[in-house]
Symmetry: C2
Subunit: 219 residues, 2 copies
């Protein structure tokens, strides 16, 4: 069993260090080895049944980012951070995506797709009739937010700043990034980079409810 | 600025070590100092505007967990893991929750609530008219999935196993845990503990799409 060399204190320190960065230092770029780890964090994010109903679009082109910013309430993070990640769902996930995943599972684990047919049928059954009423795009969106969490968390552990953003014109983003024709739709943004020295939000105390307000015991 | 002592390799190692644990060792309990860090990870999770539209219910009582298991497809994780966390949204978030948050912000940052009234009005405006059509409970659910990600990630960093679960009878869980009368509704479960030595899923290779399938560049 792999054990960890990270201590509880290290984690809490980095999670307290993290904040939603408003002013990024536009001169600082995330180094390649760190970026690779952030990308891998997205790849390794868990999702329901492991289906990965998502794609993560990285935008670095400055003029494209300027255009996007105009449809994101003018937020400076869109243009000033080292990298902009647009987290998107796969639209209308269904039997085709389950088959694709089963094929991938068979290839990775070196078994026949036929040996996984019961598993595939079970997943299709869940998606066709979930235990509670939910549209597939809503279900996929939930999964994307796990990946958003993993991206922000990895960044915090590596001393990289992030800012998640929900305030943007969905239709315009989809259009500018050509997502619908690829079967995707944007759901949330995450700017990634380094806080500016003068971001006044960096020194504000984090506002959280007392633990007894947000954690309850049902015993 | 706090920097990190964690390397990209450490992160990737722990994220690869993580998997959705099916068989937990029911004899092993998460130590108090580790549990405290996991709780703090939930408290420190980011959410839109920092509103924390959530509560995390920890269930340890064995007979209650047995009852819950019967409404979760009989999944053994519900009873066998050290701890069961039921992640819940605050229902119908609106102006009252914004006022509560502004009061908290004023107290933590030692400013007057009046000095934050513009901020409060801006948040109320967003919630009343989001940039895309979304029900408040769906919006809150998205935030809860960030917290789910933070919980699983912290656990992985500390060598603790988890299993996220969407397959459960929502109405029954809400009823057994008395959530509706407190203004909450369950959205997802996370079992927390230690993998059993004989969990055959532990040794299966992780199935992920190639990075070029899930990460795209829009430059």
């Amino acid at each position: 069993m792999t054990n960890s060399s990270t201590t509880p204190d290290q984690i809490i320190q980095q999670l307290n260090w993290r904040y939603a960065t408003k002013q990024f230092d536009s001169d600082r770029k995330v180094p390649d080895d760190v970026w690779t780890a952030l990308e891998q964090s997205l790849v390794l994010s868990p999702s329901s049944f492991g289906l990965q109903p998502w794609k993560f679009f990285v935008v670095r082109n400055p003029s494209l980012r300027q255009q996007l910013r105009e449809h994101a309430w003018g937020q400076a993070q869109v243009t000033d951070a080292s990298d902009l990640v647009v987290l998107a769902i796969k639209k209308d996930v269904g039997a085709a995506e389950v088959n694709q995943f089963v094929d991938r599972m068979a290839a990775v684990r070196q078994v026949s797709p036929e040996s996984l047919s019961n598993y595939g049928d079970m997943v299709k059954g869940f998606l066709a009739q979930p235990p509670y009423p939910i549209a597939m795009d809503s279900w996929a969106t939930r999964q994307v937010y796990i990946a958003l969490g993993f991206l922000m968390y990895s960044a915090a552990m590596l001393g990289i700043d992030t800012c998640p953003m929900e305030g943007f014109d969905l239709a315009k983003f989809n259009e500018l990034l050509h997502l619908p024709e690829q079967g995707y739709s944007a759901v949330v943004l995450c700017a990634v980079g380094y806080r500016a020295n003068d971001d006044k939000y960096a020194d504000l105390e984090k506002v959280r409810y007392p633990i007894e307000t947000v954690v309850g015991y049902c015993d």
